[in-house]
Structures are given as C-alpha cells and as structure tokens.
C-alpha cells in the first residue's frame, strides 16, 4: 500500500512536470473561471454576508424577484404579485415547478422560513435585515401564496424580495445556521448548484439541469480565490481565468501588453460614485452655506481630470442618481468647471481673499480644511485628492490631506469627527435616498455630514410612501432638483469598471448592478461555437 502511494506520488509528479515542460495548455471544459479576492464569509446564502458570499448566493438561489440588467424588477420564484392600494401589503404568487437542487418543490413555507432567518440577528444577515426592517408580519395562506404586511406604506415593497431563498427542509435541521451542514453545502433553487469549496482556493458551482428558467449554457462556474489583482491579471494572461474586472492600472497595462492582445474588453458604469461628505455640524465652520459647497465643486476641472489622469475611465459625477439609474432626471447635469463663478460664490458667502496669495478668510478664520481618505484604497483616490488640493488652492481654499486606516476612517466618519471625507458609495436600483440625506440618518445612517433640510426630509418621506410609479417619479424629480440646488455632498466622479475576458466567452451583459446579481447574468454566458479554432 505504502509502495503504491509512493509510486503514484512520483508518477503524478512526473506527469505534472512533463505537462508543464511541454507547455501544454490547461484543459478547458464548458466552464467559466472568475476571480474573487477573498473567501466568501459564508455559504449559507443569507447569513454573515459579504460581497463575495452574496454574489455566490445569487447564483445558487433565486429570490421571489430579481433585477434585470437595467435594474427593473422581474419575476423569479414569484410569477406574479399584487401590491395593495395603500402600499402596505404585497401578495406573491409562486411559480409552479420551481425545484430545490435536491428535487423538492419550493413552497411559501420556505419563503417564510427565509424571512424569519434573515431577520434573526444571529444569522448576521446584514443587508437583508436592513431591507426587511419594515416588515410587520407575513403569512402563507397556501403553498403557493406568500403575503407580507409592512408597518407603513412602502414604495420599495419589492426590494427585500431579491433575498435568496433557503430550503426549510434542509437548513432547519442544523442547530447552528452559520456553522451547520447547510452552511458548508448549501442547496438553493437558482441556476447553479453548489459543488465544492476549497477554502482559499476556489468555490465550484455546476449548472442545475432542472432550473425552472432553463439550464445555464455553461457546465461550471468557478470562483477562484486569488490573493491580489495583479496575480488575477497574470492568471488571466496565463489562461487560468476567463473573465476579470481589473483596476485602471491593469487596464492600461493590458492596452500595451502583447500577451493581453488576444483578450476581449469592455468598460461599464455601476451604481456607485466617489463622493465627498462636507461636515455641516456646528464644530465645522466651512460648509454650512450651499454657495460654498457649490463653489468648491465649480473649482474642479473634473472633465479634464477624467480624460487625462484617469485615462477616460471616469466621468464627472452628477448626483446620487447616476445616469444608469432608471430614476435619474436627465435634465440635471454635472456642475461645470467655472473658477470665476466659484470665486464669486465664495466672495458672496463672505469668504474673501485678504491679500493676494493668501487663503480666503471669514471672521478671522482662514478657509483651510482637512480631507480624510482611506490609506491604500486606490491609487486614483490619492491622485484625486492631490489634484483637488491644487485646484482649490487656485481659488484661495486650503486643503490638507490625511490618510487613515479603513477602520479609523469609518470611525471618524460615523462619529462626525472630520471636516471633509472622500470615499465611495454604492446604490441599489431603488430611488430611495433616505439613509443618505434625511436629517435623522446622521445617527445610524450614511448622512455623515449631518446635512439637514426640511424640504428634503419631506420629499424623502413622501417618496417612500408613494406607491404609484408616476406620482413617485414626480416626487423624486423634485428631490433631485432640490439636491442639485443644495449640493449636500460632492459627487466627484463615477469611475468605470474595466473588464477583460476570453474573446470566445459570449453573452456577457454589463449591468449597473454588476456582472452577477441580476437575471440572466452568468446564466446567459456561453462559449462561442468557434472556440478553439481561433
């Protein structure tokens, strides 16, 4: 036995060595290999979720609804639904013939189990717990009907129901949801079934033959866990990956590298932006006046920066409703570069230049503030900050730059212990911006700058409670104009996401919600019939 093991070791070593020396290409099946940069924090579909685990969960299990590529809701496990006229109740009718990967039928009891689990703090279902916070109660009148009641009219009543469903008959057997058997081998009702997870190496999913929406065209979707963006890029060049979202630096490298010439490429914009929070609380004297906030943005030649420094991979930010959002009001445009208007507004707000070459002052206070940002986040953030510093100096405003560790940065922002903070923000496809602008969202929300405006508060509350889509659009158009006038935050840029992929991999549709978390997503990916002949 021992001798056999030794022989097989040497045989394997020899085979591997011969294969490597001969430079034979790795064998490719009908699989697609993509990179993620850390292990998924959990495979329990809804628990302890981070970005990687949510991405994988959305492949393994469907929700009642999903986004399409444009961010509109489309039916998934629920084939139809009705929202009550007062917006407090939604009745979902489940599709016939939706199966779990073990062959059992999906019922409304599974939906109820999933909601109860997601709302349990022990599940650590962070984003879903927030989305389900307004749920007052739910019921399952029969196996194919699920009814949910909200505490108040809720216009985004469908948003929480993208939640991936969990099979009660499997998951409920575990005493501990996050560390039991289900969390190690999840079963869902989505287009891909779970096959294996080698910690630190890869998670492998396989096409589910009996998927209600039709079997995916590829056989396996492999999430390779790679330690760095550079290693992932090298792996793509070595044909060890098939698709990769890259950083701007690697994108530039790929434009010139001969080894990358064979790759197909595209860029797309996501529902995200680089923004600056201006602290408007009592302790900070600079940003209370909307003229000042507007003036600071007018002093920045964002278009030029986007074209030169970021090599065309950015565009000036417009607002918290990026152009890809179905709710964006097209009449609102990004503020232009206008240093003269900037200087005029600052003068008007009382911030005047005492003598040439000096910083502006008001009541003896020089206009010099500190911008905090995360150290080592992205090179482009450092460049943006340095360029801002230079541009603001031109209009007599001083800016110091302080880089912090990510936890210290979050802490300072959350406790409002900063003057200006640069960071990214991601949006979902809904128009609700309550957590960003409402005056009460400065405690547990994202209103880090303590912005407060009664009209904005009223519109945010009205928008949440207005169910009729046409009426709702009017409310959010008003909100966008009000926000455009007040400029509570500076939306500096929207950075593009560059993607490189094997030219034979087809059917990739970029969406503002990413490449995965919408339908059909990877289900539509397929290898070209000409593959291997190129």
């Amino acid at each position: 036995m021992k001798r056999r093991a030794v022989y097989s070791f040497f045989a394997a070593a020899a085979a591997l060595a011969l294969g490597a020396c001969a430079g034979s290409p790795p064998h490719k099946d009908n699989d697609v290999r993509v990179a993620i940069y850390s292990d998924p924090s959990s495979l329990s579909l809804i628990g302890n979720s981070d970005l990687n685990s949510s991405q994988i969960a959305s492949m393994i299990s469907d929700g009642l609804v999903a986004y399409d590529a444009r961010g509109h809701y489309v039916p998934m496990v629920a084939s139809t639904w009705e929202i009550s006229p007062d917006g407090t109740t939604v009745t979902f009718h489940l599709r016939d013939g939706v199966l779990w990967h073990d062959g059992e039928r999906v019922t409304s009891r599974d939906v109820a189990y999933t909601v109860a689990k997601a709302r349990d703090p022990a599940t650590l279902s962070r984003s879903w717990a927030s989305a389900l916070a307004n749920v007052a109660s739910f019921e399952t009148p029969n196996d194919s009907t699920f009814v949910v009641h909200y505490t108040a009219p809720y216009a985004d009543a469908l948003e929480p129901w993208r939640l991936p469903l969990v099979p009660e008959h499997v998951a409920s057997k575990d005493a501990n949801f996050l560390s039991g058997a289900f969390a190690h081998h999840p079963i869902g009702c989505g287009p891909f079934r779970f096959v294996s997870h080698d910690p630190g190496q890869r998670a492998v999913l396989a096409a589910f033959d009996r998927y209600w929406g039709g079997r995916p065209a590829i056989d396996h979707l492999i999430f390779k866990i790679v330690s760095s963006e550079r290693t992932a890029y090298e792996s793509l060049l070595l044909d060890e990956l098939d698709l990769l979202a890259v950083t701007p630096d690697l994108w530039r490298d790929a434009l010139n590298a001969p080894a990358a010439a064979r790759l197909a490429r595209f860029i797309y914009y996501r529902f995200s932006a680089w923004k600056i929070d201006w602290n408007q609380n009592e302790a900070t004297p600079f940003f209370h006046d909307k003229r000042v906030r507007r003036a600071l943005l007018l002093a920045l030649d964002r278009k030029r920066f986007a074209e030169t420094v970021s090599a065309g991979l950015a565009r000036p930010g417009v607002s918290s409703y990026p152009p890809e959002s179905p709710w964006a009001d097209p009449s609102i445009e990004a503020l232009p570069f206008d240093p003269r208007e900037s200087a005029r507004l600052l003068d008007e707000a009382g911030w005047r230049v005492p003598s040439p070459g000096h910083l502006r002052e008001k009541d003896g206070v020089p206009f010099e503030f500190t911008l905090i940002l995360t150290a080592g986040a992205q090179e482009i953030a450092d460049r943006s900050a340095a360029w801002m510093q230079q541009s603001l100096a031109e209009v007599g405003v001083g800016m110091k730059i302080v880089k912090l560790g990510s936890e210290a940065f979050k802490q300072q922002r959350k406790t409002h212990a900063f003057e200006a903070a640069m960071g990214t923000i991601a949006f979902d496809a809904t128009p609700d911006r309550f957590d960003l602008y409402h005056s009460t969202a400065n405690v547990d929300g994202f209103n880090y700058g303590s912005f407060s405006d009664a009209e904005v508060d009223r519109l945010l509350e009205e928008g949440r409670a207005t169910v009729d889509p046409a009426a709702r659009r009017i409310v959010y158009d008003r909100l966008q104009h009000r926000i455009d006038d007040l400029q509570p935050l500076a939306f500096l840029f929207q950075f593009a996401q560059p993607v490189l992929h094997d030219p034979d991999l087809e059917g990739i549709v970029p969406s503002a919600v990413g490449l995965f978390q919408f339908t059909p997503g990877p289900r539509a990916w397929h290898w070209s019939s000409a593959r291997g002949r190129n």
Binding site: R4, A5, V6, Y7, S8, F9, F10, A12, A13, A17, A20, C21, P26, H27, D29, D39, S41, G47, N48, L51, P121, A122, L124, R126, S127, A129, S130, A131, A133, S179, D198, P199, G200, Q201, R202, H220, I222, K224, I225, V226, S227, S228, T231, E234, S235, L237, E240, G405, E407, A408, K410, Q411, K414, A426, D428, D435, A441, D444, G445, F446
Partner: protein
C-alpha cells in the same frame, strides 16, 4: 534537567498569557469593531446592531472579555470566529497542514542547500566556493522576500510556464489517488517554499561554515589532518557532527515558523495557511482567531526550544556530564 525544563515551561506559560493579554488589549484599542456592517448599501437597524454588540459582549469592558476568553480556554474552547462564524479550532485544523507542509518543504530545501554549501565553504575558507557562496547567499538575504517572490513567479510561472503561479491545487483536477493530490500540492508549493528558503540560506550556511572552521582549528582538526585527511574530508566527516548541536538550537527556533506560517509568502502565492489567516483576522478584528494563533505560535516556540534542549542533551555527552 527535568526541573529546568519544568521551570522553562512554567515561565513560558506566564509569558504566553501576558502576550495574549497585550494582544487582546491592543486589538480592543484599535478603531472599528467586528461585524460593523457599514459597507452595505443600507445601514443596519439599531436593534440589530444592539443584538450584535450583545452577541459579542462588546458592551462589556475589555478586561472582562479577556477573562471570558481565558475561562473558555481553560475549558478547552477556542471560541468562534467573528468573520467566518466557524469554530476556531476547526479553522486551525484545516489550515495547519498547509502551513506545516510549506514550511517543512522550505526547511528541507534550506538545510539541503545550506549545509553542503557551509561544508564546501569551510573546506577552503576564503577560497572560490566560500566567496561565491557568500556573495550568492548574502544577495538572496538582502533582496526583500516579496521581490524574490515576484521574480520567481515571473520567471518560472509566466515566462517559462514550468510551475504554477499561485494556489495549492490545479483547477478541475480529479486526482485518482491521494498520492496525486499530494504531488499536485507539492508541485504548487515549490515556488513559495523556494522563496521562504532563500532568506535563510545565508545565515544557515554561514553558521555551518563558522562552526566547522572553528572545530578544524582545534585539536581534533589538527589531529585529523596529521592522519592525512583533507579539509573537505574532515569537514564532511567530523565538522558536520560538531555543527549539529548548534544547528539543533537554531532549528528549535525555526519550528515555530511551521506553525506561525509565513504571512507575506502565503499572501503572494495564495496559500491558504495560518499566515494568511492571521493577516485576514487582524484586518477584520477577529479576536478569537488572532488570540488562538498567538497562543499556538507561543506554544510552538516553547515546544521547539524544549525539544532542541532535549536533543542536545541526548546527542552531546559534554552537556550531559556538565549537568
């Protein structure tokens, strides 16, 4: 000897607890908290946040939380990881063989190259082998390990395509036996092990060389040469034996590396060992995992130094008789 070892263990245990106490205090003093959840597109509901704080006892003063950890430890429980929500002991068990395998390979490579090099250098001090060996190993020692790693990756994985770029197993490989799986892992670990070994070559080879040269200059060396043995023959037959005892002392300090893993190398080569676990756990403020790894590393140091003491005692009669 036994009382000395017992005393060393007692001292080490006290030191270990002091170290874990300091690590605990430092991690608690850092900004941020586990499961902050602020990266989500929606903020956490306040009651959910409160439940999380209660679950992790974050509202208790940190000395009380440390006391809770020590009590659990005395019951044989290492706790549950904040990030992965898995038992810490299971996580260590899963990752230990990877780090141990990588470092054992590195140690073998280091000793396999450094000892013969030390013997060759000692055979003719200041001769061409000695000088060439010194230059080569010092250059390897001076180059930052991440740079060596990137160079090796570029040359052997990207340029020549002889070795895998990263990871510890081949995608989609269906191994017919455990031997194939083991060979696949070993194949993937060649570059990281070479990288880990490169830094230690200089001091181990110089260490061996110095010990042999010193013993050659002594009475034994002179007597051997009088019997007609060449320097190389003497170094190979007797010098190595003379160098074994100090080499064992050195090896005692290398053993903790088998457990502690190599943070940088594991990160660059995507090796899922204890080093990369420690790195991730520090970033995510995963206290139970950081403390368990600190403890494990301390215990390995204690084990390594004690083992080398016992081996020296067994191998070297001078030490035995001196006691």
């Amino acid at each position: 000897m036994l009382p000395a070892i017992a005393s060393r263990i007692a001292t080490a245990m006290v030191t270990l607890f002091i170290v874990t106490f300091v690590v605990f205090a430092l991690l608690c003093a850092l900004p941020g908290e586990p499961q902050g959840g602020d990266d989500a597109s929606r903020p956490l509901p306040p009651e959910y946040r409160a439940a999380l704080r209660a679950q992790y006892h974050l509202d208790e003063p940190w000395p009380a939380r440390y006391g809770r950890w020590v009590t659990d430890l005395l019951r044989g429980e290492l706790g549950t990881s904040f990030s992965a929500q898995q038992p810490v002991a299971a996580m260590l068990k899963e990752r230990f063989p990877v780090s141990a395998g990588l470092n054992a390979l590195a140690l073998l490579a280091m000793l396999g190259i450094a000892v013969p090099l030390g013997i060759l250098s000692a055979a003719r001090p200041d001769g061409p082998w000695d000088r060439a060996g010194w230059i080569a190993t010092t250059a390897l020692y001076a180059v930052p390990v991440f740079w060596t790693a990137l160079l090796l990756q570029w040359l052997f994985a990207i340029r020549l395509g002889w070795l895998p770029l990263s990871g510890i197993s081949t995608d989609g490989a269906r191994h017919p036996s455990a031997g194939f799986a083991f060979a696949d892992a070993a194949w993937h670990l060649v570059l990281p092990a070479a990288c880990l070994a490169s830094g230690g070559l200089a001091y181990v080879s110089r260490f061996v060389r110095t010990n042999i040269v010193e013993s050659t200059a002594g009475e034994g060396g002179r007597a051997a040469r009088a019997r007609g043995l060449s320097m190389l023959q003497y170094a190979a037959r007797h010098g190595v034996v003379q160098a074994v005892v100090p080499l064992l002392t050195l090896a005692g300090f290398l053993i903790p590396r088998l457990v502690g893993g190599s943070l940088l190398i594991e990160a660059i080569f995507n090796v899922p060992g204890l080093g990369s676990l420690l790195f991730d756990s520090i970033l995510s403020r995963d206290l139970p995992v950081v403390l368990a790894l600190t403890l494990l590393s301390g215990l390995a140091t204690l084990f390594g130094t004690t083992l080398s003491d016992v081996l020296i005692l067994w191998l070297d009669p001078r030490v035995r008789h001196a006691r």
